[in-house]
Amino acid sequence: MIEASLVMLFIGAGCFMYRLLRGPSLPDRVVGVDGLLSTIVIAIVVVATDKHSGLTVETVLVAVLVGFVGTTALSRFIERRGD
């Protein structure tokens, strides 16, 4: 079941990466970054479950906070840059 989860997360990360690279506008790329970080967070939790490691879970806390700060800062940047 770990393998099935990781395969599906890989497909999802590929889709977000497509939107990050191709996205016609800057907000689309920000959506790609946000979703990619959410997928990475889920993947870290799945790997921590595989290893039965409580310490690996703590990495996720940092990743969630970095994702929130990154999305908010980029949205402020987009708003200020606006025409």
Binding site: G12, P27, G35, I42, V64, S75
Partner: protein
């Protein structure tokens, strides 16, 4: 691994994959944001439940509860800030009236 936590992990990962597919397939920006903001949040919730069942130590459960609360609080805030900031730069199919622009021009509606 127990069956219950395995099912939680698989369903949560499937939700993250569905969010990615929606991000690729949907036609305009707000639809893509709708797919990317909601589905992985529920996916993280389910995967965290599965991990808490499987790992079972106190520190892991506490951290996972904190992670889920932070994600449930921060994901809608980030999505709202991004969609409000970028509404002038992307092509959006509007209804008859753009209420945000109307409120900015006329001031908020009198209650």
């Amino acid at each position: 691994m127990s069956i219950v936590s395995g099912v939680f992990l698989v369903v949560g990962s499937a939700l993250a994959m569905i969010g990615g597919i929606g991000t690729v397939r949907f036609p305009d920006f707000l639809s893509r944001m709708h797919a990317a903001a909601k589905a992985p949040t529920l996916g993280l919730l389910l995967v965290a439940i599965g991990a808490a069942i499987e790992i079972g130590t106190e520190i892991a459960i506490t951290t996972l509860v904190l992670v889920v609360i932070l994600q449930l609080l921060s994901s809608p805030v980030g999505a709202h800030a991004l969609s409000r900031a970028s509404r002038r730069q992307v092509v959006v199919q509007l209804d008859d009236v753009d209420q945000l622009t109307r409120d900015e021009q006329d001031g908020p509606a009198a209650d």
